[in-house]
């Protein structure tokens, strides 16, 4: 049971590590790292379920009848591309956040936003 579902255990552990980083860390880059680990765990899940016991690579050849399932691999290629796009977009957002907030720590950004809101409302009330 435990050995037979080895791939699932790897996937679940990776997934939890990824999600934990996203939730627990305040550094925006670390959050993206966590997100990437989380996505990668899903990629591994798709790839590992495609393996057929005793099957070879899905290439037509004489004398071979048992193939691994190529479809999940193709699907996950698409998802990998999507993952790259997400990471790239996320990183470029972090660059721009760093430019305007001078920080990539969640707490400091929130604090700056709150302070800005407070001063704005103060000037409004006095006006």
């Amino acid at each position: 049971m435990i050995i037979g579902l080895f791939n699932h255990w790897v996937v679940i552990i990776l997934m939890m590590i990824g999600l934990y980083i996203v939730i627990a860390h305040g550094n925006l880059i670390k959050k993206l790292v966590g997100l990437t680990i989380f996505q990668t765990s899903v990629f591994i899940f798709y790839i590992s379920i495609a393996k057929v016991d005793g099957g070879t690579a899905p290439i037509l050849a004489d004398g071979i009848t048992q193939y691994s399932n190529p479809l999940p691999h193709v699907l996950i290629l698409t998802a990998i591309v999507v993952g790259i796009a997400t990471t790239a977009l996320g990183l470029s957002l972090v660059v721009r956040i760093k430019e305007t907030y001078k920080s990539i720590e969640e707490e400091e950004i929130q604090q700056q936003d709150n302070e800005e809101q407070l001063t704005k409302h103060k000037t409004e009330d006095s006006a």
């Binding site: 925006l28 997100l35 379920i49 698409t78 972090v94 907030y101």
Partner: protein, 492 residues
């Protein structure tokens, strides 16, 4: 040509996006985007007509037979959603060129339209496709362009809102991906119609159960259902106004569509509502969402925030209708999707006009605008009345159906709660009316004039639609009811 409509629906904006990059002259790009979106709208009308007459359309992509190839499947529900999305997109685009003048740097105009069209493509694709994995791909197309569009907002908070949305949205989409993977593992198919036939055989397994939960949680993240709504208010408030108008009217509807499609069609009604207590759960979350979001809306100082929270509350109504799992309840949800798109489209476009003239949408800057921008403010008031559910507006129609559905099941207390929730909407709409009509304008806003015609035309198109569909409900009710009945397998 007519047989290829389902793919043309998606591919028109998709192909138009790169062409925009080649044109690269802002006025020209705007006209071209408008043309592409208008074409998509025309196609959706043709599709709806065809579906109403001859039933479900199935289109095999590249001639590969389903379930091996990708199938585009248009039934009444899909056609209805396609109509809402492409219609709102077209109307909103009319005002786009004027609005982004004040909000986006000139060198980014072309990219704005490219992203807008890609986002439109994503949403249309999610709705048109009959393939579960295709849903994920289109979901990411629309989401990725949405993150970039939101980050284009003027204030630096837009970047932070976009980043938060990116994290939450990606987790949501990946959850859906896990769910689809588990489904594939159990059935070996990705075609939705095929899945719905094969899943019952393995319905008792834990894998299918887990896949269901992953899909539901993922969709609810995208849906901004309470308590997974935290990304929405800032994303809507800081995005460029045109983007807010487009997304507020369409994006969450697409997620509601996915929820309905997965629970009713793919997993099947009996599975969805018996394996986990979906009815109690969604009913409770929907109601809590209505009250908490409406109450939060009352205390906001930024008008865009007020209506963003109100959007979360309106999603609550859709969820309550959905959770009833009766034909009338689902009809109410579908009607509310259509109606909410009309009201929020009108309101957020009017807010875009206010930003164009006043420069921001802080509540205290609304002082005296009732006299300075009478037509724009009147649009917000009618939209607000529609949100409350006053008779002769579309809001009344969907609330009426929702109450009928609740009373049908004998759930009087819930019906009373729904009415109380609408009272909260009165409060936050009144706050805006009070400031706009009964206070003297701020000194800096003395010279503010009525919004330009390029705003008034789309705003009032939507406002008139708000009233028209509130009086003549034949079209919307007929389609929504037909869609709901076919989801329940009742022949109309």
């Amino acid at each position: 040509m007519i047989t290829h409509l389902p793919i043309l629906q998606v591919i028109t904006p998709l192909m138009a996006a790169p062409i925009c990059l080649l044109l690269n002259r802002s006025q020209l790009v705007w006209m071209f985007s408008l043309l592409a979106s208008g074409l998509a709208f025309l196609i959706s009308i043709l599709l709806l007509q065809q579906v109403m007459i001859s039933g479900v359309i199935s289109y095999e992509l590249g001639g590969w037979q389903a379930p091996w190839g990708i199938e585009y499947r248009i039934d009444k529900l899909n056609a209805f959603l396609l109509l809402i999305i492409s219609g709102i997109s077209t109307v909103v685009l009319v005002a786009a060129q004027t609005s982004i003048e004040k909000e986006i740097p000139k060198d980014k105009y072309t990219y704005f339209y490219v992203l807008y069209l890609l986002s439109l493509t994503g949403m249309l694709g999610i709705v048109a496709t009959g393939d579960a994995f295709n849903v994920f791909v289109f979901l990411e197309i629309s989401s990725l362009s949405a993150y970039a569009l939101i980050a284009m907002g003027q204030k630096r908070q837009a970047l932070w809102a976009s980043y938060q949305y990116l994290i939450m949205g990606t987790i949501g989409a990946t959850f859906i991906l896990i769910g689809i993977g588990l489904m594939y593992q159990m059935t070996g198919t990705l075609n939705m119609a095929d899945l719905s036939q094969r899943l019952p055989e393995v319905a008792q397994t834990r894998t299918v159960f887990v896949s269901f939960v992953f899909v539901i949680v993922g969709v609810c993240l995208k849906l901004a259902m309470f308590p997974l709504h935290l990304w929405l208010p800032n994303a809507y408030a800081y995005a460029p106004s045109i983007v807010t108008a487009f997304f507020a009217a369409t994006a969450t509807k697409v997620a509601v569509y996915l929820l309905i499609r997965f629970t009713f069609s793919v997993f099947g009604l009996s599975f969805s509502f018996t394996t986990i207590p979906l009815q109690t759960l969604f009913m409770a979350l929907g109601l809590i969402g209505i009250f908490i979001a409406s109450a939060t809306a009352i205390y906001q100082k930024n008008v865009k925030h007020i209506f963003a929270y109100s959007s979360i509350a309106q999603i609550g109504y859709m969820i309550v209708g959905f959770s009833l799992s009766t034909v009338t309840g689902l009809t109410a949800t579908l009607l509310h999707m259509f109606n909410h798109a009309l009201m929020k489209g009108a309101i957020f476009l009017a807010l875009a006009a206010v930003i164009y003239r006043v420069g921001n949408v802080e509540l205290n800057h609304f002082r005296g605008l009732g006299r300075q921008m009478p037509l724009t403010m009147a649009a917000i008031v009618i939209g607000g009345l529609s949100l409350i559910g006053v008779p002769l507006t579309v809001g009344f129609v969907s609330k009426w159906y929702l109450l009928t559905a609740l009373v049908e099941q004998g759930w009087w207390p819930i019906a009373v709660l729904i009415l109380l929730g609408s009272m909260l909407a009165v409060v936050y709409v009144w706050r805006i009316v009070e400031v706009a009509y009964f206070k003297a304008p701020l000194d800096e806003n003395i010279k503010v004039k009525e919004a330009p015609v390029s705003f008034l035309i789309p705003i009032w198109t939507l406002v008139i639609a708000n009233i028209y569909f509130g009086i003549d409900t034949r079209l919307s009710v007929q389609v929504a009811k037909g869609a709901a009945q076919s989801l329940f397998g009742v022949s109309p």
